[in-house]
Subunit: 407 residues, 2 copies
């Protein structure tokens, strides 16, 4: 049976995620991996999850294991709505849809909003999982350049003037792959542009809670509401996607989207057709863990501390061991830094050499719009223990020096 | 913000699932609901799930809560592959993809195989959740009539001759909504047609294990392999979708698809873009429960007994209380019977009257291709306790008699 001529034409746009394929290689023992976007499993609240699993199964077992609504567990929606209501902005549970991780928000928003050959404006580089989700719609991605302060919003306005952009996609906080954050003045400028052009924005915020310095930056959604002088998300064009994968654990697969009700209403319909609803057990466990607020706050405070130490250690080791021709971003939160090598080096070749030294990372070419980025790669510091960070970065420094000496 | 002109054109094809919307109404206390396709929660293996949740979290907590591969847990894929290998047919773990329930198989197969305006051949009536998943592709559904023995396969061949059908969709065992089963001779005829036309078939089999009489009927996949004289699923055009929702519990959201590797390979790529992977915890719990085989076998044997008793009670009460002008199917397994009323009655109107008596069901017009089926509705017997079955069917009989007397 030859299946090749049976597949849909959009299937040609699909390819295996490079990141996830590299992750498989790095599962081998002995490999020091900076490749994944994985949280540190040694800080998973395993005991607490054992406790609450037992509680919810003992107290509400039949409900926990039955089919449930596509919208998600009402208590969990209510908790998220309350948590997201800040200052003047009030969010109702009806504006929250529970999802099977925030990758699903990309999938469903793509389905509901994107027509074939639509124009979507993105940061360059941008999240490769968004590209995988939306490329099958044959989207025309238009790139806004970025720097240490995130998207260069001044370069956004000319892209809005043709009026053909369907949506803007941004990871404003601790971006994947760069680890950089859109500054507050740029967020304010973006909010003003949203008001002026009424452009839908997809705010992808998996890492926002993992800030290392000062306070949490206001979300684009909050800035937009303030700019518009509204208390209601119904007046906003921002579609906000959040997740518990980075603050609690990814294995439960619980995320959410917050948006104006007409958007949620369509997303619910798309979710019904996609997977009916998110695991009832995962939702109950999540809610039981976070309902008092305190456990989550303490847990995330600890993660911030641990990840900050790992970032510091990685950057210090890079300062010490990486050759002068190589540069990298200095993240103030999140999981990643991105390295830029001289143009004549290709990160895929460097990865081959690094793997010989049992060190892995993710080449970033797949994260870029246009034929660029071949000389960049992403390093994750959340998932490696301190001694591994030192050893791995030392080895990587040696690989880079050796390649630059040869060249 | 007016969102209406922002949505993708395919979004116009989406609508809320009638079934899931009715389910919300019926959640009110006092309502006797035959509406959902829900298993009986009083037989959920809650204690066993408490036990195994604790075991997997205690023994492999960090792994259970971390990101995992899109393909699914290797041990679970291996278990399913071995279970599905029957007689000459051998299935490898590489032919199995774990999904977040079997609705997701519909979604992913649609994405990977269906182009806009493709022709898909279906039983009439057919599963409304498949229609929701595939209608956004603007599919042309061609209907094969059905009777008590399932799809009338003799009427299928003329539909294959134009050569433009992309796929056949069937629920051969205890179909939703009818509860009917494709007879063995018809399965053999279908297998012969598959060999002749090499048509991809989507075999949706959520209910196959819930047979009440005799032995499990061989799947279309097994019949096709036998017809082709092959031991390998690689030679078959059947894509088989299974689930643990009806045999264990739906709340964990674990299903799977089995198919030739080229199909699995594309489905994995689509799954990566959709939700990365299925809940790691749900997969570990499922595997820990079923790994010895015996627990699942005993549990399903008990479900068969309980559901058979409920079917018997519902059919006997219908025989006693329903007016002579009304007919219904006699399922030999699964969860449903479908009722056909005289043409002048509309099931949506009857539902309004029934709800006044606190009884609910699902009108089947949404399950039909073409302008037919308005006078049919689906009754579920798995989810109602025996005393509720008697009371509910008695009330429904009275409603039907009253409406037929008025008319």
């Amino acid at each position: 049976m030859n299946w090749d001529n049976r597949f849909a034409s959009r299937t040609a746009q699909m390819k295996r995620s490079t990141v996830r394929e590299i992750l498989k290689l790095t599962a081998q023992p002995g490999v020091i991996s900076f490749a994944g976007g994985l949280p540190a499993p040694e800080f998973f609240p395993v005991d607490r999850i054992r406790e609450v699993s037992d509680i919810v199964l003992a107290e509400r077992g039949r409900e926990v294991l039955q089919y449930s609504t596509s919208e998600g567990m009402p208590e969990l929606r209510g908790w998220i709505a309350e948590r997201m209501s800040k200052g003047a902005l009030k969010i109702s549970p009806d504006n929250i849809l529970i999802l099977s991780g925030s990758q699903q928000a990309l999938d469903l928003v793509g389905r509901v909003l994107l027509d074939e050959r639509d124009v979507v404006i993105v940061e360059n580089p941008t999240y490769v999982g968004m590209l995988s989700a939306w490329k099958p719609y044959d989207i025309q991605f238009t790139a806004v350049p970025t720097d240490q302060d995130g998207m260069i919003v001044d370069e956004l306005e000319p892209l809005l003037q043709p009026g053909d952009a369907k949506m803007l996609y941004t990871i404003p906080s601790f971006q994947n792959p760069q680890g950089t954050t859109m500054s507050r003045p740029r967020r304010a400028k973006l909010a003003a542009l949203l008001q002026q052009y009424n452009l839908p924005v997809y705010e992808d915020d998996p890492y926002g809670e993992l800030y290392f310095d000062g306070e949490k930056m206001p979300s684009v959604l909050e800035m937009e509401a303030a700019q518009r002088g509204t208390t209601s998300i119904e007046d906003c064009t921002t579609i906000y996607a959040g997740t518990f994968s980075k603050t609690l654990t990814p294995g439960l697969r619980v995320g959410w989207v917050a948006a104006a009700y007409p958007v949620i209403d369509k997303l619910v319909q798309a979710k019904q057709a996609t997977d009916l609803h998110t695991s009832t057990l995962s939702q109950f466990i999540t809610y039981e863990m976070i309902r008092d607020g305190k456990f989550l706050d303490d847990h995330v405070a600890n993660l911030r501390k641990v990840y900050r130490e790992r970032r510091d250690l990685m950057l210090a080791t890079m300062d010490r061991c990486f050759p002068a021709e190589v540069t990298w971003t200095r993240p103030s939160g999140g999981l990643f830094t991105m390295v830029t090598m001289p143009e004549h080096l290709n990160a895929v070749d460097v990865l081959q050499e690094a793997l010989k030294q049992n060190v892995a990372f993710v080449p970033c070419d797949g994260f870029f719009i246009g034929e660029t980025g071949h000389n960049t790669f992403r390093l994750n510091y959340s998932n490696a223990r301190p001694e591994m960070i030192v050893t791995g970065i030392e080895r990587l420094g040696a690989v880079l020096k050796s390649l630059l000496t040869q060249a």
